[in-house]
């Protein structure tokens, strides 16, 4: 990741930490209500989901605005989703259960909602681990395949939220509607491109372009293949 000290970038980093600051203020002023540990735990989980949703919103925004500089922001927001998910997990293990592994074991076995949480966290953890640029380069095509699992993490995250509730379903429903919109956008783009490709460009021609053009691509552009494909197919990654 190249550090760029422009205003929007610094602002995003600071904004990502605000929920944590807000939480500390609420702890200091005893504002978390009657069941403070649960409130803290849920707050961290909520913010993890919100950052995951923001991460997923980057691609549609890029496609619609045709603004191409947002990949780093997508990575940053994804890392914030991982950051809050980690705090959420630590709150469960340390605060709520005091690292008593016997009780934690029983709780995990008997609570199916936690299984979805574990699935979501495992994925987000692997994505965070492989998020540096060098990892992306080294992993090649596997990187993209792996990072598609963010959709699975998002759906597991919603189920994790929904599955532990007794009454109020309004909030998980709101997240569900958002994810349906975000995923629906991708499906629509994919569908449109497929149709377009079938009609307009023979597969062989695309291959020729890719094979010839890398020579003229400036070194500064990291992914020549990707960019050519995009320019031809106007397709969202």
């Amino acid at each position: 990741m190249v550090l760029r000290f422009n205003n929007l970038w610094s602002l995003t980093i600071i904004a990502g930490l605000l929920p944590l600051v807000w939480l500390f203020i609420d702890i200091a002023f005893d504002n978390l209500g009657s069941n403070a540990i649960q409130a803290l735990h849920i707050r961290l989980g909520d913010w993890s989901l919100r950052f995951l949703w923001l991460t997923l919103a980057i691609t549609p925004v890029q496609t619609i605005t045709k603004w191409r500089g947002m990949t780093d922001y997508r990575q940053l927001l994804g890392l914030y989703a991982f950051f809050y998910a980690t705090l959420h997990l630590l709150a469960y293990l340390l605060l709520d259960h005091g690292l008593k592994w016997g009780i934690i074991g029983t709780d995990i076995i008997e609570s199916s909602y936690i299984w979805f949480g574990i699935l979501a966290y495992t994925i987000v953890f692997l994505l965070a681990l492989s998020s540096p640029k060098w990892a992306k380069k080294r992993m090649g095509k596997t990187w993209k395949k792996l990072h598609r699992y963010i959709y699975v993490a998002a759906i597991a995250g919603i189920l994790h939220y929904y599955w532990q509730l007794k009454g109020n379903l309004a909030e998980p429903l709101f997240y569900l509607i958002l994810i349906v919109l975000l995923l629906g956008f991708r499906v629509a783009v994919w569908f449109k491109n497929r149709k377009f490709n079938k009609m307009m460009i023979p597969t062989s021609k695309r291959l020729v372009v890719v094979a010839v053009n890398p020579v003229v691509i400036p070194e500064t552009i990291a992914e020549p293949q990707e960019i050519i494909l995009k320019s031809l197919r106007n397709r969202a990654p």
Binding site: G33, H97, G98, S111, S112, W163, Q164
Partner: protein, 317 residues
């Protein structure tokens, strides 16, 4: 029925008995000092608790650490008002609780509708310190003010055909948003007990807590408290009590029969289909207070287990 005494509570949960026994004096003393300083009439301090010092109920446990009143008042599952526990506190203030009457009918010799004042005139109020365990795996210790349900039922003389008791909560859609919009559960809220459970000396109807009248969000003016069952059994704002031959259809059981059984007995070994009931978070602790191991029948097993002797508690959950 032989009633055994309650078993000991771990010393870690015991409040210093001196501090506990004198807590009212301590508070009154503090209030008196405050008021003497401000020049306000001293009657204010005396009006602090409407019921005054009450005798203790049979199984009231002096050794439990009380959950602070403020926490109890701001953490209620009262779905008629809101699915959000904190929101119910302010919304519930719209409920009209005066006048209040309760219809008692069904398999009884003397059915009728009774004003709450008339019921209270005939019942001796006592303080019952009970642990309330919610099905959502949290618990609190509440000093209820109330009277034995059994003693009320005896007044209307149940017939030998009365095997179950059905409780119906108030239907006031003008005050209760989720009744007005008919959201989620079927309204009014209905709960039920077997007759032996209803007659058990632990089972009370509460009209107050912390020596004061019941806050509206906590079920004013009259609610059930069955301490060995999950909180959803302890129905709030009761307007009707029917004695029946057959078990009543209860609200949560009808909504999700696999999640919430008719009995609703607290049992750490029978998990909810989606979460464990093995431990509970006690309200009122610090960030470093560990979770509490949930006890079978919420710790009241010695008094109530005999009622379920031949039953498979996994099946009748």
């Amino acid at each position: 029925m032989i009633i055994k005494t309650k078993k000991d509570i771990p010393s870690s949960e015991i409040t210093d008995p001196l501090v506990f026994k004198n807590r009212r004096q301590v508070i009154k003393g503090m209030l008196a000092t405050l008021i003497a300083g401000t020049g306000i009439s001293p009657t204010l301090a005396n009006n602090k608790s409407v019921w005054g010092d009450l005798p203790k109920g049979n199984f009231s446990s002096d050794s439990l650490t009380l959950t602070p009143a403020e926490l109890i008042k701001n953490y209620t599952n009262y779905y008629e008002f809101s699915f959000n526990k904190e929101d119910s506190t302010s919304l519930a203030q719209n409920l009209i609780t005066d006048p209040w009457s309760v219809e008692i009918s069904g398999e009884v010799e003397k059915p009728g509708t009774y004003y709450l004042e008339d019921i209270l005139r005939q019942q001796s109020l006592q303080e019952y310190i009970y642990r309330l365990r919610c099905v959502e795996a949290w618990s609190m210790v509440v000093p209820w003010v109330g009277f034995s349900l059994g003693s009320l039922l005896k007044m209307v003389k149940p017939l030998s055909t009365a095997h179950f008791v059905k409780f119906t909560a108030v239907y006031q859609p003008k005050a209760m948003p989720n009744q007005l919009s008919n959201t989620m559960l079927e309204w009014p809220y209905i709960e039920g007990l077997r007759i032996d459970e209803a007659m058990h000396p632990l089972t009370i109807l509460a009209v107050g807590m912390y020596g004061d009248t019941l806050p509206k969000q906590n079920g004013a003016p009259l609610r059930l408290v069955v301490p060995w069952k999950y909180g959803f059994k302890s129905i709030k704002a009761i307007v009707k009590i029917e004695l029946l031959k057959r078990p009543p259809v209860t609200t949560w059981n009808k909504f999700a029969p696999n999640d919430y059984g008719f009995y609703g007995n607290v049992n750490p070994t029978v998990a909810h289909p989606r979460w464990s009931q093995n431990t509970e978070r006690q309200l009122g602790g610090s960030f470093f207070t560990p979770r509490r191991q949930t006890e079978l029948f919420n710790g009241y097993g010695e008094q109530v287990a005999s009622m379920y002797n031949d039953m498979d508690l996994r099946h009748f959950f």
